[in-house]
C-alpha cells in the first residue's frame, strides 16, 4: 500500500516548513520533499520606497540574523551611492560593519549550536522529545547551556554597540556607518568582568570545539555517516583565498574540490546564477547556469565556506581549520553533519576577529561615510551565518526602489536540504511498517544541520508543532501523530 508521510511543521529550525515522504506499494521511499509553505513579499513591497530605507526595512525579514540583511542591503546601496563595493568605504565604515557582522555570526551560530542542535547531540536523535530541548540541556549540562546563553548575549551586545539595538538596528547606512564605537563599549568588551569579555568568549569557543570533537570521536556514525552525498559548494572568499565572511569574490568548488566558479565579481552574479521555480514550494531553487538546472545546485553556509576557503587568517581558527581539512584528506567534506563542526570553527574565528577589531582605533574615530558618483543599480553579497546572501536593487531617478531581488542563504540550500532529507528518509523509513518519533526527528536532524532560516527565506509566522500523517495511496489517513 502506498503511503504519504507528512512532517509538519519541522521543529527547532527558524521558520515554518514541512516534509512529505511518499512510500510506494513495496514500502520503499520514492520521493521526499522539504516544502516551504509560507510566502514572502519583501521584494515586492520595498518597491517605491526611498532606497536608503532598504537596510532597515528588509532586515525585518527575520529576527535571528537581521544584521546580514541589513549589511547586504547596505553593501548593495554602497554601489548605488558610488562608494564602491566592499573595500570602498572608510576604514571606520568597513571595520564597524565587520565588527557588527562578526558579532552577528557569533550569536547566531551560538544560538544554533547550543539551543537548536546540542539537544540531538547530547541526548541522541531518538531520545525522549520531552527532554530533547534547551531546557533538557540546561538540566543535564548546566555549564554548556549557560555558555550558550552568554555567548549569544555577548554577540548581541556587540550588535547593539555597533547598530544601536540588539535586533533591527540602524548602524549601516549607504556609504558607511552612522556611529563610532564608544570607548566605554571597547573597554567593556575587551576587559569586562568575567565571563563577559572577548578573551573568555575565545576560550568558550575553544571549549565548544573540544566538546564537539570529543563527541565526534565517540559518535562517528552520526557525524560522518548519518548523511553523506556529493554536492558543489559556493561562498565568498577573500581575493587571496582566505575565509572572509564580510566581503570577497564568488567561488564555487565541486564535490572533489575542483574550482568551478573562478573567484568572480559578484556584481555579475546574474551571469552565473539563476533560480528555478517549482510548483510545490514557495522557495526557489538556485543553480549555477553553466551546469544547468539539474546538476548546477550547490550548498552554502559554514561547510561550504570550509570547502571553498584555502585558509583562515586568525591563528586559533586556522589550527582548527587544518584539523578539519586533514580529517577530510584536504578534500571538501560532503557530510552535512560536519556543518556543526564548521560552524564552531567560525564561532572561534569570529571571536578572534572581534578581538582584533576591538583593538583597532579606527573604530573610535575617523570618517564614517563616503560617497561618489551615483548609480541606478547595486548588488550586495555577504556570508550570512547560514550562507551566501544576495541583495540586488535597482532605483529610478527619483531615488525609489524599482526592483529588488533577494537570494537568501536558505534558498541556496534548498536542493541540498532536499537531498539530505531524502537520504535520511530512505535509510530510516524504507520497509518500515510503523514510523517512530525517532525516525521523524532523524529527518529533522538532517534539516537542522543546515540551520535553515525558513522565515527568512519565505517570511513565515506561526507555531511549530510537529505533525506526521500516514496516508495510503488513495489519500486516506491511516495514522496521525502530533508532537511538540
Amino acid at each position: 500500500m502506498g503511503q504519504k508521510i507528512t512532517i509538519e511543521p519541522v521543529t527547532r529550525v527558524e521558520g515554518h516548513g514541512k516534509v512529505t515522504i511518499h512510500i510506494d506499494n513495496d514500502g520503499k521511499v520514492n520521493q521526499t520533499r522539504l516544502h516551504i509553505v509560507e510566502f514572502r513579499g519583501f521584494e515586492r513591497f520595498v518597491q517605491g520606497r526611498p532606497y536608503w530605507e532598504a537596510p532597515v526595512l528588509v532586515q525585518r525579514l527575520c529576527g535571528i540574523c537581521p544584521v546580514s540583511h541589513h549589511l547586504a542591503a547596505a553593501k548593495a546601496l554602497d554601489v548605488i551611492v558610488g562608494a564602491g563595493t566592499g573595500q570602498g568605504l572608510t576604514p571606520t565604515g568597513e571595520k564597524m560593519r565587520r565588527l557588527m557582522h562578526y558579532g552577528q555570526i557569533f550569536q547566531s551560530h551560538s544560538l544554533h549550536f547550543f539551543h537548536l542542535a546540542s539537544p540531538d547531540l547530547l541526548f541522541g536523535i531518538d531520545s525522549n522529545p520531552l527532554t530533547r530541548n534547551i531546557i533538557g540541556v540546561a538540566l543535564a549540562n548546566k555549564d554548556l547551556a549557560v555558555q550558550g546563553v552568554m555567548m549569544r548575549k555577548f554577540g548581541q551586545e556587540i550588535i547593539e554597540a555597533t547598530a544601536g539595538k540588539k535586533i533591527h538596528g540602524t548602524g549601516a547606512i549607504p556609504g558607511g556607518i552612522n556611529k563610532h564605537l564608544s570607548a566605554g563599549d571597547k573597554e567593556k568588551f575587551l576587559n569586562g568582568k568575567d565571563p563577559m569579555n572577548i578573551d573568555n568568549m575565545i576560550s568558550w569557543a575553544q571549549d565548544a570545539l573540544e566538546f564537539f570533537k570529543d563527541y565526534h570521536t565517540k559518535n562517528k556514525a552520526i557525524i560522518d555517516q548519518f548523511i553523506d552525498f556529493p554536492s558543489s559548494y559556493l561562498s565568498l572568499v577573500r581575493k587571496d583565498g582566505a575565509l572572509d565572511l564580510y566581503h570577497g569574490v564568488l567561488r564555487a568548488v565541486d564535490t572533489d574540490g575542483k574550482i568551478i566558479l573562478h573567484d568572480v565579481d559578484y556584481q555579475n552574479y546574474l551571469k552565473y546564477i539563476d533560480e528555478e521555480v517549482r510548483s510545490w514550494s514557495y522557495m526557489k531553487f538556485p543553480y549555477l547556469k553553466e551546469m544547468g538546472k539539474s546538476a548546477g545546485w550547490y550548498t552554502v553556509g559554514p561547510l561550504a565556506r570550509m570547502n571553498t576557503a584555502e585558509f583562515i587568517d586568525t591563528p586559533l581558527a586556522q589550527k582548527e581549520f587544518e584539523l578539519f581539512k586533514s580529517y577530510n584528506n584536504g578534500k571538501p567534506s560532503n557530510k552535512p553533519m560536519h556543518m556543526h563542526w564548521a560552524r564552531l570553527i567560525e564561532i572561534l574565528h569570529s571571536a578572534e576577529k572581534m578581538k582584533e577589531l576591538l583593538n583597532d582605533n579606527d573604530l573610535l574615530e575617523g570618517e564614517l561615510v563616503t560617497k561618489g558618483t551615483k548609480k541606478n543599480e547595486g548588488i550586495g553579497l555577504i556570508e550570512a551565518p547560514r550562507g551566501t546572501l544576495f541583495h540586488h536593487y535597482k532605483i529610478n531617478d527619483s531615488d525609489q526602489i524599482t526592483m529588488c531581488n533577494l537570494i537568501v542563504s536558505t534558498t541556496n540550500n534548498n536542493q541540498p536540504m532536499n537531498e539530505a532529507v531524502n537520504q535520511v528518509a530512505v535509510r530510516e523509513m524504507n520497509d518500515q511498517k510503523e514510523i517512530s518519533e525517532g525516525m521523524m526527528n532523524a529527518v529533522e536532524v538532517a534539516i537542522r544541520a543546515y540551520d535553515p532560516c525558513l522565515s527568512c527565506a519565505t517570511h513565515a509566522l506561526g507555531q511549530m508543532p510537529l505533525e506526521i500523517t500516514l496516508v495510503d495511496h488513495k489519500n486516506k489517513i491511516i495514522d496521525k501523530k502530533r508532537n511538540r
Binding site: P50, V56, R60, T170, I173, P174, N178, S398, D399, Q400
Partner: protein, 237 residues
Amino acid sequence: MNQIVRFTIDGSECMAEKGQYLVDAAKENGIYIPTLCNYTGIKPKGSCRVCTVKVNGRLMTACTTPVSENMDVQNHIPEIDELRKKIIELFFVEGNHFCPACEKGGNCELQALAYRYKIMAPRYPFAFPQREIDATNPKLIKDQNRCILCKRCIRGIQDEKGRTIFAYRKRSSRVEIGIDHKLGKELSDETAMKAMDICPVGALLVREKGFDIPIGERKYDKAPIGSDIEEHNVSSK
C-alpha cells in the same frame, strides 16, 4: 504690564499672562499638555484634538483656548487620557505608519506620544489606505502614507518672499498635502530641512537623509516627549 491670571490645572495653582494659550501657560507652569498640530511660532489651529482638556467641565482644545481668571482645567485625568489615547490610535490606523523603516523614528511626535500613552496596539482596525509617495521634488520626498494632515508645513513654511509652498489638495477622505510645483523646485536646503523638522511625523523627508543619526541619539531616545516640561515642574517645586 500684562495682567496675570490665576487658574488651576488638575488642582495645582497656576499663573500666567491673561490671554496666553492654555497649552503655553501650562508649559510655563511645568505641566505638559500633549500636542501634534501645534508648533511654537505659528498660529494654533486646534485640528488634531490631542491637546483636548476639560475647562470648567467642557472639552476644549488647549492650543486655542486663552487662559482666564479662575479657570478650572482638567488635564491628566483618566477620561482625558483615554480620549487622547483613542485619537492617537486613530492616527495610526488611518494611515500607514511603519515606524521601523521610518527616518523620523525616535524624532517622531506621533510615535513619542504612542510611547507616552503606552499604546501596544490600536483598538481600531487598520484602514490600510492606498497612498502615494511623491518623489518628484528635487529636495523633498513626500510620503502621504504617514501624513496626519496637521497643516504644520502649510502654516509654517514659506519662501523668502513669504509665499506658502505647501497646500491641501483634493477633498474629503482623499485630501492630501501638495507641494507647489514651481516654488517647490526652488526650495533651499535650509527650507527643506525646516519642512522635515516641522512635520511631526515622517511625511516630509529630505532626500537621501536617512538614519545618519544613530539610535540612542535621537530626540525622544534621550528624553520622552513632555519630560523636559515636567522636569521643570519637579525642579521648580
